[in-house]
Amino acid sequence: MDSNLGLRFLSGVMNVVLVLLLAPLCEGILRKVTAKVQSRQGPPIRQPYYDLLKLLGKEDIESGESPAMQRFAAWLSLAAILTVALLVPMGTVPPLSGGADAYLLIYLLTLCGISTMLAAFAAGSTYSLVGMSREMMSVMTLEPLLAVAIVIGAVHVRSLRLDAVLSGSAYGEAAAPLAGVLMLGVAILAFQAFVGRLPFDIAEAETELMEGSLIEYSGPKLALFKFTQMAKLVVYGALVVSLFAPWGHALPAPLNLAMLLLKLLVLVLVVTLVAATHARYRIDQALRYYAGLLGASMVALLLALYGY
């Protein structure tokens, strides 16, 4: 392990840099494709970079009930998602996964949601509180899905070590990988909700709650939250890829990376098209939908326990 330390450190830095660079690009592609679907010109693909830079350069306005908490929440959200980036393989060895187990990953992913709730709570506006309650309901029904997906992997490889779990473990060695395939379906159906895009952007719901949880945020803090949202697409994407579609991870690093980027691009396009062709769900409709997925994932878990 020690011999790999340098390599792991390097790939850790690479992962963070990759997420930092890639997230706005994915967002840019998403916006451009959305615009094309809507018969619009659309902003240039690099626009999200400009947006973030602009927001970062703005005055940091303290509006809301507890500014210190709000600042903390903004940093926490970015820190959580970047830490997750350290655990998920992205074309190279996953830097920290040898020293961590699957639980940590689940904790950290939940922390992303919690930081949004914290932000909403600390802001204390009526709209942000409504946004918070919606976010909380979503997190409580959505996070178990990811946990189940990871646990299925863990069951198959009989280990909670992350590097073992995050290598296409969902299908295990079973001749008929029913659990993995079922869970893949669940993950695809839930992916839109994981990354908080239409029709599941219920906690922000611009036309109802005026961005809900984020209503009081502007300037640099908003940049951090926006960045977290963009990064979610990349990180969750990489996570789903390494759990369910690891093909090519044994290839040399550059090719492996190219494969990952290709898969991510496909995911981004799917997310874009779904978002562009759906109206936003109401929270109760979304919760019913999540509950259905949760039921399916439980079946998958049972199948995995019996070796399928």
Binding site: V37, S39, T126, V130, E208, A279, Q285
Partner: protein, 560 residues
């Protein structure tokens, strides 16, 4: 004659109390009654004869008769009669028996004349300030004739706050507005929310008053008012422009030439086209379905261009003068309009098919914001809201004006009364509008655009005019007067009634459904707010005072 029939039904029961009746033309009925019988007559007309409540008007008639007046307008849609029940009120301050408990739809109108004219509706169930700004002193009534059009009362108190109702037990107040992404204009709803469920709400609107009616009876002249009337609404302005001109023409017995009536019909339908396309787009936007929103606006754009080619403007066509229209539709324009309609019909067919089969949109709109036929009756709801509830009313067919009497078109109705039904009504009305414009283009003959008017218009004549706006019936009431301007001009925009139905439509619904329920009446707050003197919201902490803000704004304008 149907107006005679209606009149006989009323006079049979109320012979002794009716002072005077007037049927100036078929389809118009004016009744002057004793004040003590007003309430009973209105009950009879509204409940027993099943007339639709339109609006109530209060006016200060002291310069002419020494008295105040109240008029309650009703529509007999099946009989094709618009009826106004007028009543002189002795005494100062004047008092009149409220009809709001019998006719719930009269709630706002009575509060409005209480605020503006100072006529006290005795027995009103909820006599709270409606129109006047928070800081306006009590007992000052700006629509009285002795109140100057440009006066601000000296004791205007900008720090006075509005006395809002207390929320019910266990409910949180979620303020919706005055500024909100889905409100195109300022309006304030205080939602009483229990978890995610709306239990009730209080509305405080009328924030952008522009004194249009006051200007109409004290500053502008007959032919200037159409331009002001058009500015009542940013979307359906032509409706008010035409409705006002028609009201004056009816009062003064002027008949515009046939070509003018066709051109009015064409422009009104062009307006409905762009308004319905706008609404379907905005409705989708509210639901988060921006793709259809963008496509609707793309499809809509050629209509705006053809409107600009005809009138010189995308919106605000400045179409009517009393007795005619100002713009002609040349052969070149006619051909282009036909081409625009062909493309529109094709593209809209695709949208209609896509919408009608979309399960996702249905999920968000079915059983949401329901207004059933009973609510439609009680609150006087109109337009697509009424038709979506299966109430088959359309001013174009029921009280034909312009060239609609010669047109063949279907009145689109649905059954369920929810947002989905309103969406479908609007989607399919687009095809009917296209049909109407084509018929006009086919049948229109060459001819003059205006009827010359040599004499002064007669005074003290009453005119009623209803025009089917995209949002429902727009109703104008005019009493002609001296100095080349009306003595009283009252505008009832469709949203004025439809908005009063919203609290019942959103009760016990989720917050998420509030925006689309409100959106589904296609609200137009500026139409509702057309009345009275300047207003800047008072209350809440501020850095600038009202005067400072006004001064800053004015300096900024002058500097340019």
């Amino acid at each position: 004659m149907p107006a005679q029939t209606v009149l006989r039904q009323i006079t049979d029961r109320f012979t002794s109390v009716i002072q005077r009746t007037d049927i100036p033309e078929d389809g118009r009925l004016f009744l002057y009654t004793e004040p003590q019988a007003l309430r009973e007559i209105c009950r009879y007309v509204f409940r027993d004869l099943d007339a639709r409540y339109v609006i109530s008007i209060g006016l200060d008639d002291r310069p002419a008769s020494g008295k105040f007046m109240v008029a309650h307008n009703f529509a007999f849609d099946r009989e094709h009669v618009l009826c106004s029940i007028l009543c002189y009120l002795p005494g100062n301050p004047p008092r009149v028996d409220s009809i709001a408990d019998l006719v719930p739809a009269a709630n706002w109108a009575e509060r409005e004349f209480r605020d503006l004219v100072g006529i006290e509706p005795v027995g009103h169930p909820y006599p709270k300030r409606l129109v006047l700004p928070d800081g306006w002193p009590d007992g000052v009534h700006p629509l009285r004739r002795d109140y100057p059009w440009d006066a601000v009362p000296p004791d205007y108190d900008e720090n006075r706050t509005f006395d809002f109702d207390r929320p019910p037990e266990g409910c949180m107040v979620v303020p919706f507005g005055p500024f909100h992404p889905t409100l195109d204009e300022p309006a304030h709803f205080r939602l009483f929310v229990d978890g995610e469920v709306v239990r009730g709400c209080e509305y405080r609107g009328f924030m952008v008053h522009r004194a249009i009616e006051k200007l109409g009876d004290s500053v502008l002249t007959y032919n200037e008012i159409p331009m002001a009337a058009e500015r009542i609404c940013g979307i359906c302005g032509c409706v008010h422009n035409v409705a006002y001109a028609q009201a004056v023409e009816q009062a003064a017995a002027i008949t515009p030439p046939p070509r003018a009536r066709y051109i009015r019909t064409i422009m009104l339908e062009i307006e409905r086209l762009h308004s319905h396309l706008l609404w379907v787009g905005l409705g989708c936007h509210i639901l988060g379905f921006d793709t259809l929103f963008m496509q609707c606006f793309r499809i809509r754009e050629p209509i705006m261009w053809i409107a600009e080619k005809i009138s010189g403007n995308r919106k605000t066509y400045a179409l009517c003068v009393i007795g005619g229209v100002r713009w002609n539709i040349t052969p070149a324009l006619r051909d282009e309009l036909r081409r625009v309609l062909t493309t529109l019909e094709q593209e809209w067919r695709a949208v209609a098919d896509a919408v009608a089969g979309d399960r996702n949109i249905q999920k968000r709109t079915r059983d949401v914001g329901v207004a059933d036929a009973a609510l439609v009756k009680d609150m006087g709801l109109i337009g697509p809201v009424a038709r979506a509830a299966g109430v088959d009313i359309d001013t174009r067919r029921d009280h034909p004006y312009a060239a609609y009497g010669e047109m063949e078109f279907a009145v689109v109705t649905q059954k369920s009364g929810d947002v989905w039904a309103r969406l479908l009504v609007r989607v399919f009305e687009v095809f009917e509008s296209i049909k109407i414009i084509r018929q006009c283009l086919d049948h229109m003959n060459e001819g003059p655009l205006q009827t010359p008017i040599q004499d002064e218009l007669p005074i003290a004549r009453v005119g009623l005019s209803s025009v089917e706006a995209p949002r429902g019936e727009a109703h104008h009431f005019v009493i002609t007067g001296e100095n080349n301007r009306p003595r009283r001009w009252r505008v009832r925009a469709p949203t004025y009634q439809n908005l009063q139905g919203v609290p019942a439509m959103i009760r016990d619904q989720q917050i998420a459904d509030m925006t689309i329920s409100l959106g589904s009446i296609d609200p137009c707050f500026s139409c509702t707010d057309r009345m009275e003197v300047l207003d800047i919201r008072s209350g809440v902490a501020r850095i600038f005072s009202q005067e400072e803000l006004l001064r800053l704004a004015r300096d900024g304008t002058r500097a340019q």
